[in-house]
Amino acid sequence: MNAVHLIADIRDYPWRNLVAGLLPARFQPKTALIVPSASIAGNALTVVIAIMSFLACLTAGAVYMVNQSAEAWVKDISSEITIELDPVNTADIEKKMTLVSLFLAKQAGITHVKPMTAQDSAKLLEPWLGHSDVLSALPIPRLIAVEIDRSNPPDINAISEALSQNFEGVTLDDHRRWRAEIRTLTRSAALGGIAVLVLVAAATVAVIVSATRSAMASNHEIIEVLHFVGANERFISREFERHFVGLGVRAGLVGAVSASLVFLLMPIVMQMLGEGPATATEMSRLVGTGELDLKGYLFCVLVVFVVACLCMITSRLGVIRVLKSYA
Protein backbone atom coordinates (compact mmCIF):
# COMPACT_ATOMS: atom_id res chain seq x y z
CA MET A 1 0.00 0.00 0.00
CA ASN A 2 1.53 3.32 -1.02
CA ALA A 3 1.18 6.64 0.81
CA VAL A 4 -1.65 7.88 -1.42
CA HIS A 5 -3.72 4.75 -0.71
CA LEU A 6 -2.96 5.01 2.99
CA ILE A 7 -4.10 8.66 3.12
CA ALA A 8 -7.24 7.79 1.12
CA ASP A 9 -7.89 4.88 3.48
CA ILE A 10 -7.63 7.16 6.53
CA ARG A 11 -9.77 9.88 4.87
CA ASP A 12 -12.50 7.46 3.78
CA TYR A 13 -12.50 5.52 7.03
CA PRO A 14 -15.97 5.46 8.62
CA TRP A 15 -14.79 7.17 11.82
CA ARG A 16 -18.36 8.04 12.80
CA ASN A 17 -19.29 4.35 12.66
CA LEU A 18 -16.19 3.50 14.65
CA VAL A 19 -17.19 5.95 17.38
CA ALA A 20 -20.74 4.54 17.30
CA GLY A 21 -19.19 1.09 17.72
CA LEU A 22 -17.72 2.16 21.08
CA LEU A 23 -21.19 2.36 22.55
CA PRO A 24 -22.79 -0.76 24.02
CA ALA A 25 -25.07 -2.57 21.50
CA ARG A 26 -28.32 -1.21 22.91
CA PHE A 27 -27.20 2.41 22.37
CA GLN A 28 -25.92 1.92 18.84
CA PRO A 29 -27.92 3.32 15.91
CA LYS A 30 -29.67 0.38 14.23
CA THR A 31 -28.99 1.45 10.65
CA ALA A 32 -25.24 1.32 11.26
CA LEU A 33 -25.21 -2.38 12.07
CA ILE A 34 -24.67 -4.58 9.03
CA VAL A 35 -23.01 -7.08 11.36
CA PRO A 36 -25.23 -7.27 14.47
CA SER A 37 -23.45 -6.81 17.80
CA ALA A 38 -25.24 -9.80 19.26
CA SER A 39 -23.46 -12.06 16.76
CA ILE A 40 -20.03 -11.14 18.14
CA ALA A 41 -18.91 -13.20 21.14
CA GLY A 42 -19.56 -10.40 23.60
CA ASN A 43 -19.58 -10.76 27.35
CA ALA A 44 -16.98 -13.48 27.87
CA LEU A 45 -14.57 -11.74 25.51
CA THR A 46 -15.14 -8.38 27.23
CA VAL A 47 -14.35 -9.93 30.62
CA VAL A 48 -11.16 -11.60 29.32
CA ILE A 49 -9.89 -8.41 27.66
CA ALA A 50 -10.82 -6.37 30.75
CA ILE A 51 -8.74 -8.75 32.91
CA MET A 52 -5.85 -8.56 30.44
CA SER A 53 -6.01 -4.75 30.48
CA PHE A 54 -6.17 -4.75 34.28
CA LEU A 55 -3.02 -6.91 34.48
CA ALA A 56 -1.27 -4.79 31.86
CA CYS A 57 -2.12 -1.55 33.73
CA LEU A 58 -1.00 -3.03 37.05
CA THR A 59 2.28 -4.20 35.52
CA ALA A 60 2.95 -0.92 33.71
CA GLY A 61 2.06 1.11 36.83
CA ALA A 62 4.14 -1.07 39.16
CA VAL A 63 7.20 -0.95 36.89
CA TYR A 64 6.81 2.82 36.61
CA MET A 65 6.46 3.11 40.40
CA VAL A 66 9.54 0.99 41.13
CA ASN A 67 11.46 2.94 38.52
CA GLN A 68 10.46 6.28 40.06
CA SER A 69 11.35 5.03 43.52
CA ALA A 70 14.74 3.77 42.33
CA GLU A 71 15.40 7.06 40.54
CA ALA A 72 14.66 8.96 43.73
CA TRP A 73 16.91 6.62 45.69
CA VAL A 74 19.76 6.91 43.21
CA LYS A 75 19.37 10.70 43.21
CA ASP A 76 19.45 10.67 47.00
CA ILE A 77 22.60 8.63 47.34
CA SER A 78 24.28 10.37 44.42
CA SER A 79 24.25 13.61 46.36
CA GLU A 80 26.19 12.04 49.22
CA ILE A 81 29.57 10.45 49.64
CA THR A 82 30.91 8.69 52.72
CA ILE A 83 34.43 8.86 54.09
CA GLU A 84 35.54 5.87 56.12
CA LEU A 85 38.38 6.06 58.67
CA ASP A 86 40.00 2.84 59.79
CA PRO A 87 40.57 3.11 63.59
CA VAL A 88 43.23 0.39 63.60
CA ASN A 89 46.78 1.73 64.00
CA THR A 90 45.46 5.25 64.57
CA ALA A 91 46.59 6.89 67.81
CA ASP A 92 44.03 9.68 67.95
CA ILE A 93 41.02 8.90 65.80
CA GLU A 94 39.08 12.01 66.92
CA LYS A 95 41.93 14.29 65.83
CA LYS A 96 42.11 12.47 62.52
CA MET A 97 38.33 12.91 62.09
CA THR A 98 38.67 16.65 62.63
CA LEU A 99 41.60 16.98 60.21
CA VAL A 100 39.85 15.00 57.48
CA SER A 101 36.61 16.98 58.02
CA LEU A 102 38.49 20.28 57.73
CA PHE A 103 40.27 19.04 54.61
CA LEU A 104 36.93 18.04 53.03
CA ALA A 105 35.20 21.29 53.97
CA LYS A 106 37.83 23.20 51.99
CA GLN A 107 37.14 21.28 48.76
CA ALA A 108 35.06 22.92 46.05
CA GLY A 109 31.64 21.35 45.38
CA ILE A 110 31.15 20.12 48.94
CA THR A 111 28.23 21.74 50.73
CA HIS A 112 28.17 19.99 54.07
CA VAL A 113 30.50 17.78 56.11
CA LYS A 114 29.10 15.84 59.03
CA PRO A 115 31.51 13.77 61.15
CA MET A 116 29.59 10.93 62.76
CA THR A 117 30.27 10.04 66.35
CA ALA A 118 31.39 6.59 67.49
CA GLN A 119 27.83 6.12 68.85
CA ASP A 120 26.41 6.91 65.43
CA SER A 121 28.63 4.26 63.82
CA ALA A 122 27.76 1.73 66.54
CA LYS A 123 24.07 2.44 65.99
CA LEU A 124 24.41 1.41 62.37
CA LEU A 125 25.53 -2.04 63.55
CA GLU A 126 22.75 -2.44 66.11
CA PRO A 127 20.33 -4.25 63.74
CA TRP A 128 22.91 -7.05 63.45
CA LEU A 129 24.75 -7.01 66.79
CA GLY A 130 22.06 -5.62 69.09
CA HIS A 131 22.37 -2.91 71.71
CA SER A 132 25.43 -3.90 73.68
CA ASP A 133 28.38 -2.31 75.44
CA VAL A 134 30.62 -4.64 73.52
CA LEU A 135 30.22 -2.33 70.50
CA SER A 136 32.27 0.35 72.16
CA ALA A 137 35.13 -2.12 72.54
CA LEU A 138 35.15 -2.99 68.84
CA PRO A 139 37.31 -1.12 66.32
CA ILE A 140 34.32 0.20 64.39
CA PRO A 141 35.24 2.33 61.37
CA ARG A 142 34.34 5.99 61.79
CA LEU A 143 32.33 7.73 59.14
CA ILE A 144 32.06 11.25 57.76
CA ALA A 145 28.91 12.01 55.75
CA VAL A 146 29.59 14.51 52.99
CA GLU A 147 26.91 16.25 50.96
CA ILE A 148 27.90 17.43 47.53
CA ASP A 149 26.59 20.22 45.36
CA ARG A 150 24.85 18.41 42.46
CA SER A 151 24.87 21.54 40.33
CA ASN A 152 28.63 21.93 40.79
CA PRO A 153 29.90 18.44 41.73
CA PRO A 154 33.44 18.02 43.04
CA ASP A 155 36.11 15.90 41.35
CA ILE A 156 35.52 12.75 43.41
CA ASN A 157 38.57 10.96 42.03
CA ALA A 158 40.88 13.90 42.91
CA ILE A 159 39.47 14.09 46.46
CA SER A 160 39.86 10.34 46.88
CA GLU A 161 43.49 10.53 45.71
CA ALA A 162 44.27 13.53 47.93
CA LEU A 163 42.76 11.75 50.96
CA SER A 164 44.82 8.61 50.45
CA GLN A 165 47.98 10.71 49.94
CA ASN A 166 47.46 12.89 53.03
CA PHE A 167 45.83 10.45 55.44
CA GLU A 168 46.53 6.82 56.09
CA GLY A 169 43.55 4.41 56.35
CA VAL A 170 41.00 6.84 54.88
CA THR A 171 38.79 5.68 52.04
CA LEU A 172 36.06 7.39 50.03
CA ASP A 173 32.84 5.62 49.06
CA ASP A 174 30.78 7.35 46.37
CA HIS A 175 28.06 4.60 46.52
CA ARG A 176 28.78 3.67 42.91
CA ARG A 177 28.31 -0.02 43.67
CA TRP A 178 24.90 0.68 45.26
CA ARG A 179 23.79 2.79 42.37
CA ALA A 180 24.82 0.08 39.92
CA GLU A 181 22.89 -2.51 41.94
CA ILE A 182 19.77 -0.33 42.12
CA ARG A 183 19.96 0.24 38.38
CA THR A 184 20.32 -3.48 37.78
CA LEU A 185 17.31 -4.12 40.02
CA THR A 186 15.25 -1.47 38.23
CA ARG A 187 16.20 -2.81 34.81
CA SER A 188 15.32 -6.35 35.90
CA ALA A 189 11.92 -5.14 37.14
CA ALA A 190 11.36 -3.25 33.87
CA LEU A 191 12.36 -6.28 31.79
CA GLY A 192 10.09 -8.51 33.86
CA GLY A 193 7.28 -6.00 33.38
CA ILE A 194 7.85 -5.89 29.63
CA ALA A 195 7.82 -9.69 29.52
CA VAL A 196 4.48 -9.71 31.38
CA LEU A 197 3.09 -7.05 29.00
CA VAL A 198 4.21 -9.08 25.97
CA LEU A 199 2.52 -12.20 27.40
CA VAL A 200 -0.67 -10.23 28.11
CA ALA A 201 -0.60 -8.79 24.56
CA ALA A 202 -0.04 -12.26 23.08
CA ALA A 203 -2.92 -13.71 25.10
CA THR A 204 -5.17 -10.80 24.03
CA VAL A 205 -4.26 -11.34 20.37
CA ALA A 206 -4.95 -15.07 20.66
CA VAL A 207 -8.34 -14.43 22.26
CA ILE A 208 -9.31 -11.88 19.60
CA VAL A 209 -8.16 -14.15 16.75
CA SER A 210 -10.32 -16.93 18.13
CA ALA A 211 -13.28 -14.56 18.64
CA THR A 212 -12.86 -13.15 15.11
CA ARG A 213 -12.93 -16.63 13.63
CA SER A 214 -16.02 -17.55 15.58
CA ALA A 215 -17.70 -14.24 14.60
CA MET A 216 -16.84 -14.88 10.95
CA ALA A 217 -18.27 -18.40 11.17
CA SER A 218 -21.51 -17.25 12.79
CA ASN A 219 -21.86 -14.40 10.27
CA HIS A 220 -20.95 -16.47 7.23
CA GLU A 221 -24.24 -15.64 5.52
CA ILE A 222 -23.81 -11.89 6.02
CA ILE A 223 -20.29 -12.02 4.61
CA GLU A 224 -21.54 -13.90 1.55
CA VAL A 225 -24.29 -11.36 0.93
CA LEU A 226 -21.84 -8.49 1.35
CA HIS A 227 -19.62 -10.24 -1.21
CA PHE A 228 -22.55 -10.55 -3.61
CA VAL A 229 -23.39 -6.86 -3.39
CA GLY A 230 -19.79 -5.97 -4.21
CA ALA A 231 -18.30 -5.25 -0.78
CA ASN A 232 -14.53 -5.52 -0.80
CA GLU A 233 -12.32 -6.90 1.95
CA ARG A 234 -11.78 -3.47 3.49
CA PHE A 235 -15.52 -2.80 3.82
CA ILE A 236 -16.23 -6.20 5.37
CA SER A 237 -13.26 -6.08 7.71
CA ARG A 238 -14.29 -2.58 8.89
CA GLU A 239 -17.77 -3.84 9.72
CA PHE A 240 -16.22 -6.45 12.00
CA GLU A 241 -13.36 -4.42 13.38
CA ARG A 242 -15.59 -1.61 14.66
CA HIS A 243 -17.28 -4.18 16.93
CA PHE A 244 -13.94 -5.40 18.20
CA VAL A 245 -12.51 -1.89 18.68
CA GLY A 246 -15.62 -0.87 20.62
CA LEU A 247 -15.35 -4.00 22.71
CA GLY A 248 -11.60 -3.44 23.23
CA VAL A 249 -12.06 0.18 24.35
CA ARG A 250 -14.90 -0.70 26.73
CA ALA A 251 -13.01 -3.65 28.21
CA GLY A 252 -9.74 -1.68 28.30
CA LEU A 253 -11.42 1.14 30.20
CA VAL A 254 -12.87 -1.27 32.75
CA GLY A 255 -9.39 -2.79 33.25
CA ALA A 256 -7.67 0.61 33.44
CA VAL A 257 -10.21 2.09 35.88
CA SER A 258 -9.95 -1.01 38.11
CA ALA A 259 -6.15 -0.81 38.08
CA SER A 260 -6.31 2.93 38.83
CA LEU A 261 -8.52 2.20 41.84
CA VAL A 262 -5.91 -0.29 43.07
CA PHE A 263 -3.20 2.35 42.73
CA LEU A 264 -5.37 4.94 44.49
CA LEU A 265 -5.95 2.54 47.40
CA MET A 266 -2.30 1.42 47.49
CA PRO A 267 -1.05 4.06 49.99
CA ILE A 268 -3.84 3.09 52.42
CA VAL A 269 -3.03 -0.61 52.02
CA MET A 270 0.67 0.11 52.51
CA GLN A 271 -0.04 2.06 55.65
CA MET A 272 -2.05 -0.88 56.95
CA LEU A 273 0.76 -3.29 56.03
CA GLY A 274 3.29 -0.97 57.65
CA GLU A 275 1.83 -1.74 61.02
CA GLY A 276 2.35 -5.46 60.38
CA PRO A 277 5.53 -7.42 59.82
CA ALA A 278 6.62 -5.36 56.85
CA THR A 279 7.56 -1.90 57.98
CA ALA A 280 6.37 1.17 56.13
CA THR A 281 10.00 2.14 55.59
CA GLU A 282 10.83 -1.13 53.85
CA MET A 283 7.75 -0.91 51.63
CA SER A 284 8.44 2.70 50.72
CA ARG A 285 12.08 1.79 49.93
CA LEU A 286 10.73 -0.69 47.35
CA VAL A 287 7.82 1.13 45.74
CA GLY A 288 8.12 4.66 47.06
CA THR A 289 5.04 6.13 48.63
CA GLY A 290 2.76 3.73 46.73
CA GLU A 291 1.13 6.64 44.95
CA LEU A 292 1.06 6.81 41.18
CA ASP A 293 1.59 10.26 39.69
CA LEU A 294 -0.22 11.65 36.64
CA LYS A 295 2.39 10.20 34.28
CA GLY A 296 1.75 6.77 35.80
CA TYR A 297 -2.00 7.07 35.14
CA LEU A 298 -1.19 8.09 31.57
CA PHE A 299 0.36 4.63 31.19
CA CYS A 300 -3.09 3.18 31.97
CA VAL A 301 -4.60 5.37 29.23
CA LEU A 302 -1.86 4.14 26.91
CA VAL A 303 -2.77 0.53 27.77
CA VAL A 304 -6.40 1.21 26.72
CA PHE A 305 -5.16 2.70 23.45
CA VAL A 306 -2.83 -0.25 22.79
CA VAL A 307 -5.61 -2.77 23.59
CA ALA A 308 -7.96 -0.97 21.16
CA CYS A 309 -5.25 -0.98 18.48
CA LEU A 310 -4.56 -4.68 19.09
CA CYS A 311 -8.28 -5.41 18.74
CA MET A 312 -8.47 -3.39 15.53
CA ILE A 313 -5.38 -4.83 13.85
CA THR A 314 -5.98 -8.42 14.96
CA SER A 315 -9.64 -8.49 13.93
CA ARG A 316 -8.86 -6.83 10.58
CA LEU A 317 -6.08 -9.31 9.79
CA GLY A 318 -8.27 -12.18 11.01
CA VAL A 319 -11.20 -11.14 8.78
CA ILE A 320 -8.98 -10.59 5.73
CA ARG A 321 -7.37 -13.98 6.29
CA VAL A 322 -10.77 -15.68 6.33
CA LEU A 323 -11.94 -13.68 3.29
CA LYS A 324 -8.89 -14.88 1.34
CA SER A 325 -10.34 -18.37 1.50
CA TYR A 326 -13.40 -17.18 -0.42
CA ALA A 327 -13.43 -17.52 -4.22
Binding site: D12, T31, L33, I34, P36, E221, I222, E224, V225, L226, H227, F228, V229, G230, A231, N232, E233, F235, L323, K324, Y326, A327
Partner: protein
Amino acid sequence: MIRFENVGLRYGNGPEILRDVNFHVLPGSFHFLTGPSGAGKTSLLRLLFMSLRPTRGLIFVFGENVSDLSAAGRAELRRRIGIVFQDFRLLDHLTTWENVALPLRVLGKKEGDYGEDVTDLLRWVGLGDRINAYPEVLSGGEKQRAAIARAVIGRPELLLADEPTGNVDPVIADRLLRLFVELNRLGTSVIIATHDYGLMDQLDAPRLVLYEGHLEIR
Protein backbone atom coordinates in the same frame (compact mmCIF):
# COMPACT_ATOMS: atom_id res chain seq x y z
CA MET B 1 -19.27 -8.15 -21.99
CA ILE B 2 -19.11 -11.82 -20.92
CA ARG B 3 -17.18 -14.53 -22.76
CA PHE B 4 -16.84 -18.20 -21.81
CA GLU B 5 -14.15 -20.19 -23.64
CA ASN B 6 -14.13 -23.99 -23.18
CA VAL B 7 -15.18 -23.65 -19.57
CA GLY B 8 -15.40 -26.80 -17.48
CA LEU B 9 -16.43 -27.17 -13.85
CA ARG B 10 -16.34 -30.00 -11.39
CA TYR B 11 -16.79 -30.05 -7.62
CA GLY B 12 -13.86 -31.85 -5.97
CA ASN B 13 -13.22 -35.18 -7.65
CA GLY B 14 -16.79 -35.53 -8.89
CA PRO B 15 -17.96 -35.58 -12.50
CA GLU B 16 -17.86 -32.46 -14.65
CA ILE B 17 -21.00 -30.40 -14.08
CA LEU B 18 -20.22 -28.13 -17.02
CA ARG B 19 -18.28 -29.22 -20.12
CA ASP B 20 -16.73 -27.06 -22.82
CA VAL B 21 -19.15 -24.22 -22.30
CA ASN B 22 -18.72 -21.46 -24.90
CA PHE B 23 -20.90 -18.39 -25.19
CA HIS B 24 -20.79 -14.66 -25.53
CA VAL B 25 -23.08 -12.09 -23.90
CA LEU B 26 -23.17 -8.71 -25.64
CA PRO B 27 -23.88 -5.42 -23.85
CA GLY B 28 -27.59 -4.70 -23.71
CA SER B 29 -28.62 -8.30 -24.54
CA PHE B 30 -31.33 -10.39 -22.88
CA HIS B 31 -30.91 -14.14 -22.37
CA PHE B 32 -32.82 -16.91 -20.68
CA LEU B 33 -30.80 -19.72 -19.15
CA THR B 34 -32.76 -22.92 -18.93
CA GLY B 35 -32.44 -26.65 -18.62
CA PRO B 36 -33.65 -29.47 -16.42
CA SER B 37 -33.03 -29.47 -12.67
CA GLY B 38 -29.40 -30.31 -11.85
CA ALA B 39 -28.21 -29.30 -15.32
CA GLY B 40 -25.86 -26.70 -13.76
CA LYS B 41 -27.80 -23.44 -14.16
CA THR B 42 -26.96 -22.17 -10.68
CA SER B 43 -23.31 -23.23 -11.08
CA LEU B 44 -23.13 -21.33 -14.36
CA LEU B 45 -24.61 -18.24 -12.68
CA ARG B 46 -22.07 -18.54 -9.88
CA LEU B 47 -19.27 -18.70 -12.45
CA LEU B 48 -20.71 -15.57 -14.08
CA PHE B 49 -20.79 -13.92 -10.68
CA MET B 50 -17.21 -15.01 -9.88
CA SER B 51 -18.19 -16.80 -6.69
CA LEU B 52 -16.83 -20.01 -8.25
CA ARG B 53 -13.67 -20.59 -10.25
CA PRO B 54 -13.75 -22.79 -13.36
CA THR B 55 -11.83 -26.05 -13.31
CA ARG B 56 -10.66 -25.28 -16.84
CA GLY B 57 -11.21 -22.77 -19.61
CA LEU B 58 -11.32 -18.99 -19.57
CA ILE B 59 -14.00 -16.58 -18.37
CA PHE B 60 -13.91 -12.92 -19.35
CA VAL B 61 -16.20 -10.54 -17.45
CA PHE B 62 -16.32 -6.93 -18.68
CA GLY B 63 -13.24 -7.74 -20.72
CA GLU B 64 -11.21 -8.96 -17.71
CA ASN B 65 -9.88 -12.49 -17.41
CA VAL B 66 -11.38 -13.54 -14.08
CA SER B 67 -8.45 -15.85 -13.28
CA ASP B 68 -6.06 -12.89 -13.34
CA LEU B 69 -8.08 -10.75 -10.96
CA SER B 70 -7.33 -10.14 -7.31
CA ALA B 71 -10.09 -10.35 -4.66
CA ALA B 72 -10.39 -6.55 -4.78
CA GLY B 73 -10.62 -6.65 -8.58
CA ARG B 74 -13.41 -9.25 -8.44
CA ALA B 75 -15.27 -7.14 -5.84
CA GLU B 76 -15.03 -4.14 -8.18
CA LEU B 77 -16.57 -6.16 -11.03
CA ARG B 78 -19.32 -7.55 -8.77
CA ARG B 79 -20.44 -3.97 -8.12
CA ARG B 80 -21.37 -3.82 -11.80
CA ILE B 81 -23.45 -6.99 -11.54
CA GLY B 82 -26.78 -7.49 -9.80
CA ILE B 83 -27.77 -10.98 -8.72
CA VAL B 84 -31.04 -12.49 -7.52
CA PHE B 85 -30.68 -15.82 -5.75
CA GLN B 86 -33.22 -18.59 -5.69
CA ASP B 87 -33.06 -18.53 -1.88
CA PHE B 88 -33.18 -14.69 -1.79
CA ARG B 89 -30.26 -14.25 0.65
CA LEU B 90 -31.85 -11.35 2.53
CA LEU B 91 -30.27 -10.41 5.85
CA ASP B 92 -32.72 -11.25 8.62
CA HIS B 93 -31.62 -8.48 10.99
CA LEU B 94 -32.15 -5.71 8.41
CA THR B 95 -35.51 -4.33 7.30
CA THR B 96 -36.68 -4.67 3.70
CA TRP B 97 -35.60 -1.07 3.06
CA GLU B 98 -32.15 -1.67 4.60
CA ASN B 99 -31.69 -4.90 2.62
CA VAL B 100 -32.48 -3.14 -0.65
CA ALA B 101 -30.22 -0.19 0.23
CA LEU B 102 -27.28 -2.48 1.07
CA PRO B 103 -25.48 -2.34 -2.33
CA LEU B 104 -25.58 1.48 -2.24
CA ARG B 105 -24.33 1.52 1.33
CA VAL B 106 -21.46 -0.76 0.29
CA LEU B 107 -20.61 1.75 -2.45
CA GLY B 108 -20.22 4.37 0.27
CA LYS B 109 -23.21 6.47 -0.82
CA LYS B 110 -24.99 8.71 1.68
CA GLU B 111 -28.45 7.67 2.88
CA GLY B 112 -29.81 11.10 1.98
CA ASP B 113 -28.78 10.57 -1.66
CA TYR B 114 -30.46 7.20 -2.19
CA GLY B 115 -33.27 7.09 0.40
CA GLU B 116 -36.02 8.16 -1.99
CA ASP B 117 -34.82 5.86 -4.81
CA VAL B 118 -35.00 2.84 -2.50
CA THR B 119 -38.50 3.74 -1.31
CA ASP B 120 -39.71 4.36 -4.90
CA LEU B 121 -38.33 1.04 -6.11
CA LEU B 122 -39.92 -0.82 -3.20
CA ARG B 123 -43.25 0.79 -4.06
CA TRP B 124 -42.81 -0.18 -7.69
CA VAL B 125 -42.26 -3.86 -6.84
CA GLY B 126 -45.33 -3.76 -4.58
CA LEU B 127 -43.53 -3.61 -1.23
CA GLY B 128 -44.42 -0.02 -0.34
CA ASP B 129 -46.23 -1.13 2.79
CA ARG B 130 -43.49 -3.59 3.80
CA ILE B 131 -40.61 -1.12 3.94
CA ASN B 132 -39.97 -1.56 7.66
CA ALA B 133 -40.77 -5.26 7.80
CA TYR B 134 -38.07 -7.82 8.53
CA PRO B 135 -37.58 -10.75 6.11
CA GLU B 136 -38.90 -13.32 8.60
CA VAL B 137 -42.40 -11.79 8.33
CA LEU B 138 -42.33 -11.51 4.52
CA SER B 139 -43.96 -14.14 2.30
CA GLY B 140 -41.88 -16.02 -0.30
CA GLY B 141 -43.08 -13.71 -3.06
CA GLU B 142 -42.31 -10.60 -1.02
CA LYS B 143 -38.84 -11.87 -0.28
CA GLN B 144 -38.35 -12.56 -3.97
CA ARG B 145 -39.35 -9.01 -4.88
CA ALA B 146 -37.11 -7.54 -2.16
CA ALA B 147 -34.19 -9.63 -3.49
CA ILE B 148 -34.86 -8.37 -7.02
CA ALA B 149 -35.09 -4.77 -5.81
CA ARG B 150 -31.73 -5.21 -4.06
CA ALA B 151 -30.18 -6.58 -7.26
CA VAL B 152 -31.38 -3.71 -9.46
CA ILE B 153 -31.09 -0.72 -7.10
CA GLY B 154 -27.50 -0.02 -8.16
CA ARG B 155 -28.45 0.04 -11.90
CA PRO B 156 -26.12 -2.88 -12.71
CA GLU B 157 -24.63 -3.38 -16.17
CA LEU B 158 -25.43 -7.08 -15.93
CA LEU B 159 -28.33 -8.63 -14.05
CA LEU B 160 -28.31 -12.33 -13.16
CA ALA B 161 -31.47 -13.86 -11.77
CA ASP B 162 -31.94 -17.43 -10.58
CA GLU B 163 -35.63 -18.42 -10.86
CA PRO B 164 -36.79 -14.86 -10.12
CA THR B 165 -40.47 -15.65 -10.62
CA GLY B 166 -40.48 -19.01 -8.89
CA ASN B 167 -42.33 -17.79 -5.80
CA VAL B 168 -44.64 -15.12 -7.18
CA ASP B 169 -48.10 -15.16 -8.70
CA PRO B 170 -48.52 -14.60 -12.47
CA VAL B 171 -49.44 -10.91 -12.06
CA ILE B 172 -46.30 -10.14 -10.06
CA ALA B 173 -44.24 -12.40 -12.37
CA ASP B 174 -45.42 -10.36 -15.32
CA ARG B 175 -44.61 -7.14 -13.49
CA LEU B 176 -41.12 -8.39 -12.60
CA LEU B 177 -40.49 -9.42 -16.18
CA ARG B 178 -41.48 -5.90 -17.26
CA LEU B 179 -38.98 -4.54 -14.74
CA PHE B 180 -36.22 -6.72 -16.25
CA VAL B 181 -37.20 -5.65 -19.78
CA GLU B 182 -37.23 -2.00 -18.73
CA LEU B 183 -33.77 -2.36 -17.20
CA ASN B 184 -32.62 -4.08 -20.38
CA ARG B 185 -33.93 -1.16 -22.45
CA LEU B 186 -31.90 1.18 -20.24
CA GLY B 187 -28.78 -0.79 -21.21
CA THR B 188 -28.50 -3.56 -18.60
CA SER B 189 -27.70 -7.03 -19.96
CA VAL B 190 -30.02 -9.59 -18.37
CA ILE B 191 -29.61 -13.35 -17.89
CA ILE B 192 -32.55 -15.08 -16.26
CA ALA B 193 -32.24 -18.70 -15.21
CA THR B 194 -35.70 -20.25 -15.23
CA HIS B 195 -37.81 -23.36 -15.75
CA ASP B 196 -40.82 -21.25 -16.52
CA TYR B 197 -41.61 -21.73 -20.22
CA GLY B 198 -44.59 -19.38 -19.89
CA LEU B 199 -42.22 -16.62 -18.83
CA MET B 200 -39.77 -17.39 -21.64
CA ASP B 201 -42.56 -17.44 -24.23
CA GLN B 202 -43.50 -13.87 -23.34
CA LEU B 203 -40.24 -12.56 -24.74
CA ASP B 204 -38.35 -13.22 -27.92
CA ALA B 205 -34.92 -13.65 -26.34
CA PRO B 206 -32.15 -16.18 -27.01
CA ARG B 207 -32.17 -19.21 -24.74
CA LEU B 208 -29.02 -20.74 -23.30
CA VAL B 209 -30.04 -24.36 -22.81
CA LEU B 210 -27.99 -26.53 -20.48
CA TYR B 211 -28.28 -30.26 -20.89
CA GLU B 212 -25.94 -32.81 -19.30
CA GLY B 213 -23.28 -30.17 -18.78
CA HIS B 214 -23.31 -28.90 -22.37
CA LEU B 215 -24.66 -25.52 -23.43
CA GLU B 216 -26.64 -24.81 -26.58
CA ILE B 217 -27.90 -21.45 -27.76
CA ARG B 218 -31.39 -21.52 -29.27
